[in-house]
């Protein structure tokens, strides 16, 4: 339903000015290929600067690609960017256009600007606010809400005036678990009833694993993997992750610990190791006895997550997808 072929976008080099250093030319998207199927929740996962937002801006007709095609439900979005607004609903990261409106007026106005008449816009507004549990906040200006509530109100506006494709850029940022559940329940309902497709941009690895049908991992403008979360995790199925947290510092006087150091990702008192299961068992045995145990504050042993997949694929090396 949404096919992206050879999509390339390069930001031109910027000359340095006072206070802002010069930036070289940046290839934000490099021959990106994606095939999103109808009714899917498809995720774009990647660290900051991986090119997720640039990709989404091209899919929503907000930016013209340098090369490549975007086809959504049979419409060429590169040639007819104005059609994107009639096929998809977009939830961006910014809410400035809606901030001064009340929750109810934001939803109603958005519905009217999606071509609904007054009566339909109000009906859908009431239904969506009720569905998301926003009715008690309906008369409050969005600016005065907490971050998560604000996000939920913008999500509500995105749902008024049905569209077959929802493009959501980090929709659940700052939300409490109740609001999160409301968002995914609303998405699931639309998917089951109308076959709505969702393209989700996310940072959140845990959420990605639980809600996505398929995920494309982006790194430096390229898609480095695309599969189901389970399929991706199989690629590193042979490994487990051991996290060790030391009390003050690592007991390097213990030879087994000193030997591990070269294989660990260190961040402060935390060491993260990716090991074969039998190696992991040996490490746990070492650190839970003797001098090492005295220095140990906490340890966890976990099966691989999408984060580990990302690192195993060679993406972004040190920093990973999210700050855990």
């Amino acid at each position: 339903m949404c096919a992206v072929r050879g999509l390339t976008k390069t930001y031109p080099a910027a000359r340095g000015r006072r206070g802002t250093p010069a930036t070289p030319e940046i290839k934000a998207n490099d021959a990106v290929e994606l095939q999103v199927r109808r009714g899917e929740i498809f995720g774009l996962l990647g660290p900051n600067g991986a090119g997720k937002s640039t990709l989404v801006r091209q899919l929503t007709g907000l930016m013209r690609p340098d090369e490549g095609t975007v086809d959504i439900l049979g419409h060429d979005i590169v040639r007819h960017p104005e059609r994107a607004a009639r096929i998809l609903a977009y939830l961006g990261q910014e809410s400035t256009a809606l901030d001064d409106l009340t929750v109810s007026l934001a939803a109603e106005t958005t519905g009217r600007l999606r071509g609904l008449d007054v009566t339909r816009a109000r009906e859908e507004r009431d239904a969506v606010l009720d569905e998301l549990g926003l009715t008690p906040l309906a008369a409050r200006p969005i600016r005065k809400l907490s971050g998560g509530q604000r996000r939920l109100a913008c999500f509500a506006a995105a749902l008024v005036g049905e569209r077959p494709l929802l493009v959501l850029d980090e929709p659940t940022t700052g939300m409490d678990p109740v609001a999160r559940r409301a968002v995914w329940a609303a998405v699931d309902r639309r998917r089951a009833e109308r076959g709505t497709t969702v393209l989700l941009v996310t940072h959140n690895v845990i959420e990605a694993e639980t809600v996505l049908d398929r995920v494309a991992v982006l790194d430096k403008g390229r898609v480095i993997a695309c599969d189901t979360p389970a399929g991706l995790k199989e690629k590193v199925a042979g490994e487990v992750r051991v996290d060790l947290v030391w009390r003050e510092r690592a007991p390097l006087e213990v030879p087994e610990v000193a030997a591990l150091r070269s294989r660990a990702d260190e961040s402060g008192r935390r060491w993260t190791l990716r090991l074969a299961p039998e190696e992991a068992r040996a490490v746990v045995a070492t650190v839970t006895g003797g001098a090492a145990f005295v220095a140990l504050d906490d340890f966890t042993l976990a099966t691989p997550s999408l984060e580990d997949v990302y690192l195993a694929l060679g993406g972004g090396a040190q920093q990973g997808l999210v700050k855990a």
Partner: protein, 274 residues
Amino acid sequence: MSVVPAEFLPGETLAVPERDPAAPAALGPRARLWPSLAAVYRAQLSRARVARIPLLFVATFQSVGIMILMRGVVDGGSEAQAVVAGSSVLVVAFVALNLLAQYFGQLRSSGGLDHYATLPVPPAAVVLGAAGAYASFTVPGTIVTAVFGCVLFGLPLTHLWVLAAVIPLAGAALAGLGAALGLLAPRPELATLLGQLGMSAALLLGVLPAERMPAVVQLARDLLPSTYGVEAFARTFGPGPDWALVLGDLAVCAGVGVISLAVATWAYRRAAVR
């Protein structure tokens, strides 16, 4: 990268059949100009309750203050008429030009325009709706200023009804200018600066009596659209106003309004899709 072919993917999550890929799907409806203009106007007007009321007071107090100051300088007659008319139109310049330029400048820089750009709404509806709302914000302040000025300088209240034409037409010209400046400025600080400069120009060139100005300033005054709103209003204070000239001045405002709103619409289109 690996685009996994559909047949290798785990079972369909849905029973909904895939569309015939050759046939493009039906598009959602397009929002028509007038209904969407009305929706934007209403939404913008409601913002006044949240964000704009204190600034409306500032605009009015500024104009009232200027008139009180000028009372010691001008001594009735045509100068007093110019001061009252200029102060009244200054309220329009403050809100429609200055605040609208700031609003669009901020909306553009923060990415808020994406919201409108991903809705099937005609650009003119967004620009005209916002400009109309900002012009409407000026109504109470302008009327209060005009009435206060007439009482202060002993001018007749007879023809104040002409404000019903002056506010929308001067409002259109100044709001169009404000919107265009806000949408064209590459940075929000610049939009704010241009809006402030526009308002200062309206203040200096509109309120201070023109006869005392050097020729260069007089020329600048002729180039500023708010001047024509001021002149149209000022002409109606005298005994037996020349309505043809009033209409002429208002026609200039209307013309500038049409052009500047068209430029603003073009600027919006340009700012929305990069």
